[in-house]
Symmetry: C2
Subunit: 458 residues, 2 copies
Amino acid sequence: MEKKQQTFSKSLFAAFYQLTMAQAYWQNNQTGESTFSLFIRRFPASRGYMIFAGLEDILDHLSTFQFNADDIDYLRSLNHFENDFLDYLSDLKFTGQVRAMKEGTVFFPNEPVIEITAPLIEAQLIENYLLNRVNLETVLATKAARAIYAAKGHTISEFGSRRSHGIDSADALVRIGKIVGIESTGNIHGAAKYTQKISGTMAHSFITSFNSEVEAFRAFANSFPDGSTFLVDTFDTEQGTKNAIKVAHEMSENGHQLNAIRLDSGDFGTLSKKVRKMLDADGLTQVKIIVSGDIDEDMISALLESGAPIDSFGIGTKTATSSDAPAIDCVYKLVEYDNTPVMKLSKGKETLAGKKQVFRFKTDNNVYEKDTLALHNEDDKRYSTAHPLLGEVMANGVLKRPHPSLDNLHNHFLKEFASIHEQYKLLDRPKNYPVEQSQALIKLQEETLTKIESIETT
Amino acid sequence: MEKKQQTFSKSLFAAFYQLTMAQAYWQNNQTGESTFSLFIRRFPASRGYMIFAGLEDILDHLSTFQFNADDIDYLRSLNHFENDFLDYLSDLKFTGQVRAMKEGTVFFPNEPVIEITAPLIEAQLIENYLLNRVNLETVLATKAARAIYAAKGHTISEFGSRRSHGIDSADALVRIGKIVGIESTGNIHGAAKYTQKISGTMAHSFITSFNSEVEAFRAFANSFPDGSTFLVDTFDTEQGTKNAIKVAHEMSENGHQLNAIRLDSGDFGTLSKKVRKMLDADGLTQVKIIVSGDIDEDMISALLESGAPIDSFGIGTKTATSSDAPAIDCVYKLVEYDNTPVMKLSKGKETLAGKKQVFRFKTDNNVYEKDTLALHNEDDKRYSTAHPLLGEVMANGVLKRPHPSLDNLHNHFLKEFASIHEQYKLLDRPKNYPVEQSQALIKLQEETLTKIESIETT
């Protein structure tokens, strides 16, 4: 019974050192304006691009950021913070600026997807929440985009909610599914929240609770005469298909049609060909074949290459957890404080000083050619043909525009995805997309480095 | 703006097919008593045991399971369910029995960790929630237990919340951290919820926001004179250590002590030895060394084997996402309906029919020797020396006992972990722990199979 009955706010979802630093900043009058960049340092396994997501939730969080009474009481109970500082915290709101890429945008390492400019303490206290949300939605969106790429237009449904890391994560999967074009989800809670289409058929327990498979199929068809998909592998896929065909003909006699059969185990390549033949031989050419069970982008790709006559793929666990790359190396780093550019030099984790902009160049065919990482205020003709990716979405803590709809973000994603050259989208060993640094950015790094070395060398 | 303002309950966190099946059950009067087993089919990579967790949250969910008005309105809007069925759903509560292992218990494939006995529709509708929660907490608990094993008594703190899949998942990590013996967390929200110790030091942004590293250390020491850990790798670890030593001596002059220094990049083996020498040479033998950054059980093990003088490990991303095994193959299968044992035979996914008990045998030295998977009602003298792992925790939808405290579960885990032989705890290629099936269980499978074959063969 150690779980407290208090209700803590999401504003308390901070790392302890953020609050510890905040008190030290406050006591040392280190409260000037700061800019933080949120970016990934490198790609996770096999990725040649990432799809940015998570902004809407973050903006809602920043709009309502405030510690509640339970939060402050808890912090006081730690005997670690000064009362004056806690009084200051209880009045704190986020008053800063957010510049960000649009969700659904393709991005690459070292490119800021979000830049926060705000008084240092405000900007520091939101770090944990921002990293958590960008990591979650971006990891899922990128993994799901890979499945969309592999499916080459075949529909994909998502049934991963049972293995997502919590309900938040399962619902986020539904949201990014809408952005990248997943057709439907099995997660009702997420579908209700994000107005996604739902789909689902039956579990093996449905079959086994009846006296026989045929009886189970009949009962289901009786309940859903025009929306039935039969799961045929409970006992034996071939025999199950025969039973499905039998009941499908009974349905036809009553003026109804079986939608599809679902394979959930075994060798999907061989089975789908066998089952397609059986269905077609019985005149059931309109009955679709759906597969589920450990399906990911690699299996979709292999099955389609082998010519498996599969109409629709059900993805699950591997997509829901982004199993081959469950996290990205995303970080939130101070790049400017009190109008002075700053950087860290930690081995393998160096950061680029300065508030930035990302310019994207296209070929005449609307294919992305290269990006240039520049300072945010560079006035350079070279960028007149490029598109700046970071736009102001919040100023003085207030949203500059309503959130784009998920349909709008889906259309944006489609354009983005069509604009990346095939070689960067390969599932395995994709090419490196060129991200250059502007002359002004390079010069700023050299100046900042020189300055640090003059101070930090004894 | 597609996000609805309604508040949906967690009861709606069901897979669509569960509700679809529920209506078909209801229409076909298939509403008898059922038993479902929740178990894993096989180990994920490199695992020789799993640590069960997630029960408390599940029992709280079952105690309060009910669809709210928004849930029912949403389901009605789908035009898929009959009004009478929705009326039935809106009154539905969970009235069943839960038999479960205690959280913190070691378990193996095919052993039910939870068995639900309830009217079929109730038992079916809770499937998604149960699988999601057991997967989340069990995956995290097992991953964290591996780090505890590798650390051989060195303390471990957890700083993974920025890369957890959502806040729920980050907080669950704090909870299971208390069960397996993680010393502290950086996640304040989770610490507040589960009364865990918190820890944290400073980020690189703290250092870079000051004019110099020394100045930053002084400011921090000024704010936390008796609780400071200095992060020394912002620019150069050796120079950073020199700066830390300088400020540590200033602190000593004022009657205070530096706690520790933290390494966050580079080769921790080499650096920790160098830094320990520097600290000791300056008489700072009490200052501890903490490492963080991509630490997991394998790295802890390798560092300690190499004799690295590290006092404490900060684990993060890899533990927070269980990166090498982010999901387990846990399933929830009907094993008995209306007093009749049932099974599925899907290739590679066969289930064992019948309501069960797991008996665990120990040697005289209190070491676990083998488990026997038996029928729940076997009355056999052979089990008199064994311990039954499944106990009734809920009857008629009502909790049989208060939740054990996290301290109680931690003590239980310690006993469990001490009782598994070393060979099953190895980080790589652990041995297979013996799980046998009782004669009665084997006989039931044969009978059930014969019965299915007589029905399902045309």
